[in-house]
Structures are given as C-alpha cells and as structure tokens.
Amino acid sequence: MRLLEYQAKELFKEYNINTPDSISSTDIEKGRQDAKKIGYPFVIKAQVPVGGRGKAGGIQKCHNEDEFELNYPQVLNMSIKGEKTRAILLEKMSEYEKEIYLSLFLNRSKRCYTVIASADGGVEIESVKNQIIRDVGLGEVSKKIAAEIAKEIGFDGATSTHFVDILQKLSKLTIEKEAELTEINPLVVLKDGSLLALDGKIMTDDNSNFRHNELLKYREQTELEAKAEKSGFSLVELDGNIAVVGNGAGLVMSTFDMLSDNGGKPACFLDVGGGATEESVYEALTLISKMKKVKAILVNLYGGIVKTTIVASAFIKAYDNNLIDLPVYARLMGAEADKSKIMLKDTKTKMFDSVEQAINGVVMEVTKTG
C-alpha cells in the first residue's frame, strides 16, 4: 500500500515522531472548521499517491479566509499526474532553518534495509545531493549508526540527539509495519534545534496485509480492483480505451509495452495469473464489461498447459450471455489453436497467430471507431 501523507503522519504520531499540527478533510465544510482549529496562516496540501505535487500547485499557503475559500476547492478538484486529490490536509505553517532528507528502504539486491540521508532535502530523491547511504541490516538501526549518520549530516548537540531518536523510531516503524519505504522529506530543523517531519511517505508490503489489520483502513481500492483481487487477478486501471488482458505479469507488461509502442492506449492492465482457465477468462471479461471507457479488448494468453479451445469457449459464453459486445483481438498460444479459430469464426473475437498482429488489429479498430 502507498499511504497518503496524512496517513503516514498518523503512523509517525503513533511512533512519537514530531509532525506539525494538521487535520485532514474531504469537503470544504469540514475544512472551514479545521481552519478555525489550526488558525492562520496554514498550508493546504493535496493528498495524492504521487510525488511532485508542490510543483503542480498541490500545496497552497493560506494567510486568511479569502485565500482559503479560493484555494481549497481548487486543490480539492485538481488531478496531479492523473491522480485525483483524495483529501486535503490543513497544516500549521512552520518556520524552519534547514531541510533534511531521510528515508529507510528495503534494498532488494543487498536484502537489507538501507538508510538514505542528506543535508540537502526538500526536493525529490532523484535530485537530492550529497546522499549518505548506509546499509543497516534487518534489525532496528542502532544508536551508534544513527549517531554516525547524524555526524555526517553535520548535526551536533541537541539536534544530533533528536535525529538519532527519529531515525531509530522510523526504523522501528519500518520493521513493525513491514514497510518497503518510509521517507521523511523534508525533515526540518527548527530554530530551537529540534526536528519536525514536514512530509511523509510510506509504502508497505501488500503481501503482509493479512497480519496488519490496523493498516487496512488506509487501503484504497476501486470496486473493480477489489473484485479482481477476489478472483486472484491483478488490475491496474488507466485512462486509455483498450483493455489489456493476459496471464502472468511479465507477459501482460510486455503486451502493454508493445501496444503503447504502436500508439494504442491501455485502459487497464489485467493479469489473470499464471494459468488461464475458462472461468478466469470469463471473470476477466466480466470485470472489463464494467469499464465504460473500453472500446476493444486485447488478449494475450500463453496457454501451455490449458487448451486454447477452453479459453475460446469463455469468449463464446460471454457473447451468448450478452456480457460483452466489444471486439476482442486475441492471441492464444497453446494446444488446439486451429480448432479455437474455427470456434470463434462468427463472433466478434478475432484470433491471431502473433501478438504483433493482434495489436495492429486492435489499434486499427480503435482508430476507426474513434
């Protein structure tokens, strides 16, 4: 799961990592009440699961009611990199001396957690200069290592003590919540030398959800994504008009790439899992039938164990039951492909020997129908 800023900050609070006073809301009525509680000046921050919102205008300062009334609806209704604002966070403005970068992430090649810190924070990680990178094993970060990192950043005295404390708490949070990434950017140094987490980002391991009931309230799933998960599929919805379906994540990604290379715009990425059965394909078509934006379906299945005729009968059943009326461009690799072609002859499903041909067909189809 990718937690929104306000959700990450709820976890920071739980672990006693200092954050500015803030309240989240999803409508202006509640926002007005929050404004009274926080008091001017404050910032309103778009809660979106994507970086770069500052540049996109998703963070606005409000010094008075007029600015609030103007900015709140604007930020609430905006989309950043295709992601709609989920909520608004009203946050007390902080005066600070310096912006630091701090994160812990699961280092996949070294199979341990790695700390990244920098005295030049406040920009996206790619632009963070003078990165201090330290592998810290699988356990919590020790006081000694945290103090060494503090020293490298240039902290001493009380600020160093604060930093060690925050890094240790962040590492405890990372391990206990099974996070792949926890980031505080910026972590700011206040005039009195203490530290405050001004922004937060947390990504947790979805596969550990079953033992983290406390995190499930943060889970964001569309109705279709929830249905897909129930069937054991993975679904990513996008804003194009061609549904991309296949078995196995790698194969679907590959199909997705080739479709995009040829000018097609994917409406979704739908992986029905390594095996393909009549039920799974029928279930996939049921999901797609609920996406209004879809104009055509591109199917790429590597059968192997399952006969393609079984898949073909799923298409026929879907047309017979009036589940779909969309054209399907399919490449079904596996046994009895010729027989499947005959079965599908008088339907809206066209079968191809190669995925390249199926892609050309579907792109032409969508271009024709606009």
């Binding site: 990718r2 699961p49 994507v50 970086g51 295709g82 992430f105 699961l106 996949r108 090649s109 199979r111 996206e124 990680i125 790619e126 699988l138 099974e178 792949e180 990434l181 990504m203 391991d205 979805d206 596969n207 550990s208 079953f210 033992r211 993975s234 990513v236 996008l238 296949g246 078995n247 196995g248 994540a249 790698g250 194969l251 679907v252 990604m253 590959s254 997705f256 790439d257 080739m258 995009s260 290379d261 990425f269 992986d271 390594g274 590597y302 059968g303 192997g304 164990i305 690799m333 596996g334 046994a335 190669s354 390249e356």
Partner: protein, 298 residues
C-alpha cells in the same frame, strides 16, 4: 546439483525430488506433470496424510521423515503463502539443499527469514513466486509447461514465468534449445538473485549464450550488467525488459514490478545493459534475432 552422476550410457542419474504440499490443488496437478516429464519424485509431504500415496508416490507427515526415507536433497514447495516460512524452515532443517518455492504473495519479511535459514544450513532457495527450473529433457522442478522448451546450449534467466515460456518458445522455434532455464521470481526479494543464477551457469563449457528476461523494479538487472562488465564475460548475451511503458509507482502484477522514483525504471536497466554491450529486445520475438546476430559476430 541438478544433474546427477553420468551413467555408462551417457544419461544422467535422476536426482530424487520431494514435493511439499503434494495433495493440494496446485501441488497435485504439477506433481503429475513433473512425473510425466520424467522428474524423479520420490516423496510427498502433507501433514495428516502420512502413509497414503499419490500417483504411487509415498506421502509423509514431515519433511524430515521424507528425507530420511529417500535421501532427497531437493524439494519443491506448494503451500499457501501464509504457511511458506514454516514449510521452508522445516525443509532446510531436514537437510534440503535446494528448495524451489512456488507460492506467490509471500510477505517479504518471511522471504528474508527463509533466506537467512537457508544460509545457515548451506542451502539454496529459488523463488518464491518462481515458475521453477527446467533442464530440457532431463529434469523439471517447477510449474512451466513442457512444450516451449527443447534441449540445447542457451541459458534463460527470467523474473517472469509466462515470459520465460514465451521467450523460450521463441528461441526453440528459432533453433536455440536451452541448457538451463530458471525463473528467479517476481517478488522484490529473491532467494536466488539474477546474479546468483548467472554465476550458477556462466562457466559451463557447453554454454553458447544467455538470455536475461528482466522487468521493471529493483536493480537486479543493473547489478548483473555491472558484474558482466567486471568479470569481462565474453559469451553472447541478449536481454529483454518488460514494463517500459508502465506507469510509475504502480505495482504491475508482480509484487516486485514497481518503479519508485527512478529506482527500478526500464530506462536505467536498458542503459546499464547497453553499457555492458548487451542488446535489449523490444519484443519477445526479437530475442532470437538479436541472439543470432551476437553469435554470428563472435
């Protein structure tokens, strides 16, 4: 380890294999298919079903019992993700030296613990979320269909299962059979990393070339490319990367297939491969063409 001792007639002694979860929905289907392929499955493990048989294979209560009855050092696991860590621990402590971990959706923390236990016991884990290993015409320890693979001298190492089948099929139809193919798995943390799989086969004298099937997420491809530069490996290598057009910060089916910032992007992997003089195919069917070019130039 997968190839047993050579017999007088030139064939290899078949290595005994245990199946953990042999009576489960998935385990039973694939046990049959592995037996059909000729894999020497000597025992199964399903608690509560010890003493019974499945397809003439004796079932035991525990891995320890199965190991002491058969002497097998290889096991393939089909259990729900939640129970994987216990199954892996049991296997390594019973003396299993190669564990092929099929389950998908194993929490990363459990995988890391399983890797630690493997290390302590001097064992290797492949996966989780792997299709397994196949040496065509010799042994199949996995869930891959048999049809895409043929005997030959090309190694295929892949993060993805179905792309492993797709690309191996494409190689086979172009006359490039395989000496060894292995799926490292689609998870963020793999028992056998891309670089470990590469090191397993790089020194085989019969090896004519290697195909690396990567995808977005992590830095396994970059690490391997750097390793190839460092050791000045000279045999032909071709790569394919899935997910060039995937949106950022979205998990694309595999738990590991996610770009965070620039970490894990296809651009980074392709750039590193081209630094190592490894061509990257744009489509799976382009792989054998690029490989043929590389082999000809040699």
């Amino acid at each position: 380890m997968l190839k047993g001792d050579k017999n007088k007639d030139g064939t290899y002694e078949k290595q005994p294999v245990i199946v953990q979860g042999i009576t489960g929905k998935f385990g039973s289907v694939h046990t049959k298919l592995m037996l059909e392929y000729g894999t020497n499955i000597v025992a199964g493990v399903t608690p509560g079903k010890g003493g019974q048989k499945f397809e003439d294979v004796p079932i035991y209560e525990t891995v320890t019992e199965a190991v002491s009855a058969t002497g097998a050092k290889i096991s393939i696991v089909f259990v729900p993700a939640k129970f994987f860590l216990n199954a892996a621990k049991e296997a390594f402590e019973a003396g299993i030296k190669l564990l092929v971990a099929i389950p998908e959706h194993v929490p990363v923390r459990d995988t890391m613990q399983a890797i630690e236990i493997a290390k302590q016991n001097n064992a290797i884990m492949v996966g989780p979320n792997t299709p397994g290993i196949i040496i065509p015409n010799l042994i199949k320890i996995g869930i891959m269909p048999a049809s895409p693979f043929a005997e030959g001298n090309i190694a295929v190492l892949s993060k993805s299962g179905t792309l492993l089948y797709e690309i191996s099929n494409s190689l086979t139809t172009s006359g490039f059979g395989q000496i060894f193919t292995l799926g490292i798995g689609g998870d963020p943390i793999n028992g056998t990393r891309m670089i470990d799989a590469f090191d397993m086969i790089k020194d085989k004298s019969e090896l004519d070339g290697i195909v690396i099937v990567g995808e977005i997420g992590g830095e396994a491809e970059e690490t391997l490319a750097q390793h190839i530069i460092d050791i000045e490996f000279k045999k032909p290598i071709v790569a394919y990367i899935a997910g060039r057009k995937a949106p950022r910060e979205k998990r694309m089916g595999h738990a590991g297939a996610i770009i965070m910032g620039n970490y894990g992007s296809a651009e980074s992997k392709i750039a590193m491969f081209s630094k190592a003089n490894i061509p990257v195919a744009k489509r799976p069917t382009e792989v054998p063409i690029l490989l043929a070019g590389k082999i000809r130039k040699k």
